[in-house]
Symmetry: C2
Subunit: 128 residues, 2 copies
Amino acid sequence: MNTTLDFDKAGGLVPAIAQDADTGEVLMLAWMNREAFDETVRTGRAVYFSRSRNKLWRKGEESGHFQEVRGVFIDCDADTVLLKVKQIGGAACHEGYKSCFFRQLDAGELKVIAERIFDPKAVYKKAE
Amino acid sequence: MNTTLDFDKAGGLVPAIAQDADTGEVLMLAWMNREAFDETVRTGRAVYFSRSRNKLWRKGEESGHFQEVRGVFIDCDADTVLLKVKQIGGAACHEGYKSCFFRQLDAGELKVIAERIFDPKAVYKKAE
């Protein structure tokens, strides 16, 4: 499939934004290599590439909190992906928040501006 | 200012998402170094770091299409920024669209799914 995505700019990876398809809330940013992108498109579930684990990261494979893809968008420079998704379980962040962007800068301090949806310890078997 | 942002993961830069503060539309993704981030917070206007030009990019400095920052959010890993902005001129993309994500993948083909807000040739003095 020729999507003209440019994986060369950042060492084989492109940033991928996941946005709630219904509310527009930005849920998270992760990374994709070509394999992750192709599997995402093929399966309709978000697959990223984990830089820390250096392997494909099928979002939800441990927590059950999959992201069902409702739309795939490519930016003007073809070096960023935007996914519109339905977030199973209601929370994208491994810390239990709907969005990973649960902290806002306020007068030089980061303040938590969201409520936890789940307890990470109850969802993930291994310790954080 | 200690925001605990981690600029070391990707060579001194973090990805920064700009989102329309009113509609929630994701407008663009660009990059920030520490200087760009600090100036963004200090001035209330989005400043990025241009990887192609290797210098600070004060969004709108050429087009007049500044981004007025309404909120600054940091993700759980402190390696991505989300800005909620008011986009002056109504379009963030240098190609004249409101959002840089104006193309959707549809059955293996990229289709333009938005209308141009401005003519790039009329806004930018130099040729694209």
